[in-house]
Symmetry: C2
Subunit: 685 residues, 2 copies
């Protein structure tokens, strides 16, 4: 777990330090020396007297007490070395860059476990193994290049892949993105991305700490910790963007029900990010574009002014903003007319504000002043200004630079002339700004940021349900699918209304009981998993004679154990469900039933517990939402009740976390009422 | 229209040439001089004796006979200057870079028209006005920087925006993309993007001409010309990618029917690109990524091997390929085992082929050899190789460079270390290769290229229809919506089956006629445009009494003129429609009816005439296609007949191009049969 010795060590020992800077142990020392580490630095290398100018110890036993040890020696020597450091040298922080551990097989995994247990025994922190290291304000503990200058206003980067961290830094630095702390967690034997976020959250200092956090994740081993500390950091003012790679790899879990088949682990990850307020990214480019946006002032509304001297870029940017739900509103009125008088004839101020190829730096300044002070329907500006290669644009970029500092509305610079204006762009970046070389990439990232909601507030109040009754069912249930009676009890205890139904395996009893139901009814086979595939559902039954015939036919279906009869309800088919990814809270799903899930996969997901507001958003983000509202003469459904049922389902799985899978499909909804018609629950223990 | 004097002039006159290279006329001359133009060059500038070392004429009358004139003088002087050149100097090609023409107002438009008519009178070619100029193999006629070296294997660039052309060249050159001919058409007063493509097509020389064409379009003034010559060029082996900016701007056409409301001009543009085989792009970055893919060998299948020494990039690339419909198939078997013996322990060959951070150049060579020669389930390779900054990767990139030349399967290089390996990447690019700095951007572009179909073959055979009968209806119809009888005649003549129906405004007549129909029936009001909004559709009518009551109620609806009765059919609701964008052939639409178009906007579009294969693709690309096939116990529809109806609709509008809008909504389909239930046709003249 992260500690002060890792972040701000008074002494660092590099085990395996080398004079050869093409070796990790050599380049690590070089970077730490070049980074001007202020504490004591020890090298251990049995073959050298001095390494890169500092005294080399021939074995680890010889070095003085040391806060942080960085190991760049073969895996097999690491467990013993760590033991000596931990027990004899009071070392509390370890970075192991060596590979050959858990990722390499069983022996490596054992070494890893040994090391973790040693480190834990002294309450220490272990980063890695199999990582590129750590950069903090105090030292440059990575063996790779580039080593970005520490900028407290830059981005913290926490990465599950060392090479990817390097590639993110390289691509970022070329855009003008700067970095603060960098953590490469490697195999994350003891400390994962979540643990570092936890530390950052619990020790957050709004005066000093970097506000932007970029994450690269391949696995999320502790999703609830990620959720908790990401939300908390964002509520404190931080901004987090993350890549979760591996989104399309199929999970290994067998999908035996609808829910299993339609849900994917990517859906759960997105639900978590959504709840936490993390911006979901799919590439290094997206991550860095979002980071660039984070670097500017916060976008507080959706109305963007596009200021340009080149029409094409403005059109493409307007297209992209509009696709992403942002707006490029028309600008008109006396102020717009006044602005026009400062521009050359032929300029347009309607938005995009196009001040022509001949537009000047002064004009740009005036336009920005008008957008900042006069145009109330503008929340932010995107300024596209390149160079056709005829003249210097430094004066333009100087104006832009000043405006970036003094304006309250965010301004996003698109400087596309990466060749013609290379020098001027470099000088602009050196002032601490970031460039968006492609206007559409900017537009997309802007929408991603704008469309990511604030983190869900922690105080989520769920509807009251009968927990005792639920525990009664769950505690006595065996693993697998619950039977109809158990399922009904759960629904009743959770306060989810359900249709009256009779289940009988004797035709005589069923016919006798029919008097309690109104025709038409629907009859379903009990037993087979996919009833409609087996033609085990019969609609529109209007007489006892038909009930009798249908009963006989249904009982002949393979695995039929009984027949169920229900009143046939008219209304809109709805669906709610639950899935469970290991480590995550339950994912609650909702949708329209029937073809909407079976054909169109139109499903919303949220991570339990679901707030009322989240449940509303889930419902409203369905592609078929208009049907819930009622479209084109069709009756809609009671939306508040649907939202409530989603929350009740969430309350149910909070009370019964053993539920691994659940479908209520369909529910039938009208304007008045929604009732569950069929449900299936699976429990594990 | 493009001519030889434009492409390969023996002499060029620059009117408005200047010693000041910050002025367009100055920089134009500088670029032409620096580009080593081999013919005679004349400058016209009344204030100078010599301009940039060449003799300057004081007026245009004084210059010798000249093939090509480039005008960089104020707009108002251009018409007279062009007249003198055309009539006295035998000039047949003109490039006008000056602004202040059609884009600036009425006076400018007049000047533009005068110039066009002068140029046309001598059968000449006019590029511009308001453009950056032209680059061909023979001269560098642009006033902007950068001026890319002419590379016959590079990309032709034809742009409707000069600044965007500059920004595309700049961003492209930074990636290693090279350029051949560049045309900036400006206002396209005489020569547009389509005309240049026409010339390229009609004069295509497969031995010499560039194969890659990049287009930036803001308007498509002659869509059919664009379609014809793009398809033709692509069939000759060319590859075309294009941006059509302005995709979200709402067209000005009033949308008075369903079809109008759901279709957009972007849909029509996409249909055209799809039919032509043009790769649709939305940004400069996408255009250049696709151009980069075009630069490599053609992807002949969907199976990609990802070869990497860095896991993270491989995971993100695999995600993106999979989202785009491409595959990263497992590699296994004896050859895979053999390959593994050449790699370091811990490497994986299962695909991604991960040969670890320590992987060598030799190993990369062996892996590529295996993918090229041994693994038959691999169609292409993506090689991700960066540098953590420890050692030189030039030997790796040398191996890659050689393999790029000799392998038959395409290899796409992702070299992400834009800082650490800057020098090695530059040297790789100098060999004529292109780098993909971001793996996900590559993955997306690869899918875009792979998912763009071949151009539709020109010989489209449409079903035989009764053209005489159709012309009879159309020729006598007045502008606006056709009445029910006319509409039925058109459907019958086009061979589109329709439901039997009665239309009456007298209740007595309707009741009398009811004997010819079977109950249940559906009754609809005739008159109002949106029947279901007005509650003008009543289902499930089972008796004459109900017919009588319903008739009275429907006739009370606003604008009701009559009532229609039809047998109520059971089956899947389908939809076909037609829209017409100015200049384009008709766009034919198809979809599932009801909520699929009203709520989900699930519509496919194709440009008439629609081939059988295209119609099939349209149907199969619907999100709800599974319902047409029959899903989960529901009966599907006769897909062949649906395809035929789409083609019949296409044949109808080919015979009656005056149709500006048409819906058949719904059609009711079963496995056996599809019939039109309601239709609406609007004609213009």
């Amino acid at each position: 777990m992260v500690n002060n010795q890792l972040l701000n060590p008074k002494s660092i020992a590099i085990i395996g330090a080398s004079n050869d800077t093409r070796k990790p142990g050599g380049n690590m020392l070089k970077n730490i020396l070049a980074g001007g580490f202020a504490g004591n630095l020890y090298a251990v290398n049995p073959k050298e007297e001095r390494v890169q100018g500092i005294k080399s110890f021939s074995e680890v036993m010889e070095i003085p007490q040391t806060d942080l040890a960085i190991l760049a020696i073969p895996a097999k020597y690491c467990p013993e070395t760590v033991k000596i450091l931990a027990e004899e040298k009071n070392t509390k922080a370890f970075i192991i860059i060596s590979a050959g551990f858990g990722e390499a097989g069983e022996q490596g995994k054992q070494w890893e476990q040994q090391i973790v247990s040693t480190v834990n025994s002294v309450d220490g922190c272990l980063i890695g193994p199999n990582c590129i290291g750590v950069i903090t304000e105090n030292y440059k503990g990575v063996f790779t290049a580039p080593v970005p200058q520490f900028n407290p206003k830059g981005c913290d980067l926490i990465s599950g892949s060392g090479a990817t961290a390097v590639f993110i830094m390289e691509a970022g630095m070329a855009l003008g993105v700067s970095f603060a702390n960098v953590f490469s967690v490697g195999n994350a034997a003891q400390t994962g991305v979540e643990d570092i976020l936890e530390y950052m959250d619990e020790n957050f200092d709004a005066e000093k700490d970097p506000f932007i956090k970029l994450l690269y994740l391949e696995t999320i081993s502790n999703p609830q910790k990620l959720l908790k500390h990401s939300s908390s950091l964002i509520k404190k003012g931080a901004k987090i963007a993350a890549i979760k790679a591996g989104s399309t790899a199929e999970g290994s879990r067998a999908a035996t029900s609808h829910t299993g088949a339609i849900a994917s682990s990517d859906m759960t990850v997105r639900a978590l990010f959504h709840k936490a307020g993390i911006v979901y990214c799919s590439s290094r480019e997206e991550l860095l574009s979002v980071a660039s946006i984070f670097n500017y002032k916060k976008l507080e509304g959706k109305n963007i002014a596009i200021i340009t001297h080149a029409g094409g870029s403005a059109v493409m940017l307007a297209d992209e903003l509009s696709k992403g739900g942002l707006k490029v509103p028309e600008i008109s009125g006396p102020d717009a007319e006044k602005l026009k008088t400062f521009l050359y004839p032929g300029s347009s101020v309607a938005n995009p504000i196009d001040f022509l190829a001949t537009g000047t730096a002064e004009q740009l300044g005036i336009i920005i002043d008008y957008c900042e002070h006069k145009f109330d329907n503008i929340d932010a500006m995107a300024v596209v200004f390149g160079s056709p290669g005829l003249f210097d644009v430094e004066n333009v970029y100087n104006v832009l630079s000043v405006k970036l500092e003094i304006c309250n509305k965010p301004i996003f610079p698109v400087l596309p002339s990466v060749i013609n204006a290379q020098r001027e762009i470099q000088s602009f970046l050196k002032k601490g700004h970031i460039n968006f070389p492609d206007e559409v990439v900017l537009g997309k990232a802007l929408s991603q940021v704008f469309n990511t909601p604030e983190p869900v507030s922690e105080a989520i109040s769920l509807p009251k349900i009968d927990i005792e009754k639920i525990r009664g069912v769950i505690n006595t249930a065996s693993e697998g699918y619950l039977d109809a009676a158990q399922t009904q009890k759960l629904l009743d205890a959770a306060g989810i209304p359900r249709v009256t139904e009779l289940v009988e395996n004797s035709k005589e009893k069923m016919l006798a009981a029919m008097d309690s139901l109104e025709f038409p009814v629907v009859m379903k086979v009990v037993g087979p998993l996919h009833k409609s595939d087996a033609k085990g559902v019969v609609l529109n039954i209007t007489s006892k004679e038909e009930v009798s015939e249908t009963f006989d036919r249904l009982m002949q279906i393979d695995s039929a154990t009984a027949v169920m009869v229900q009143p046939q309800l008219a209304g809109l088919e709805l669906f709610v469900g639950v899935m469970k990814e290991p480590g995550f809270n339950h994912t609650i799903l909702c949708g329209l039933g029937g073809i909407f899930i079976e054909v169109l996969n139109d499903v919303s997901a949220g991570l339990s517990p679901i707030s009322n507001n989240e449940a509303q958003q889930m419902v409203q983000s369905l592609r078929g939402y208009k049907l819930i509202q009622g479209a084109r003469g069709r009756e809609g459904v009671n939306e508040n009740q649907f939202v409530e049922i989603i929350q009740r389902l969430s309350a149910l799985v909070e009370a019964a976390p053993e539920i691994t899978e659940m479908d209520i499909n369909p529910l039938i909804g009208t304007r008045k009422n929604i009732v569950a018609v069929d449900a299936r629950v699976r429990v594990g223990h």
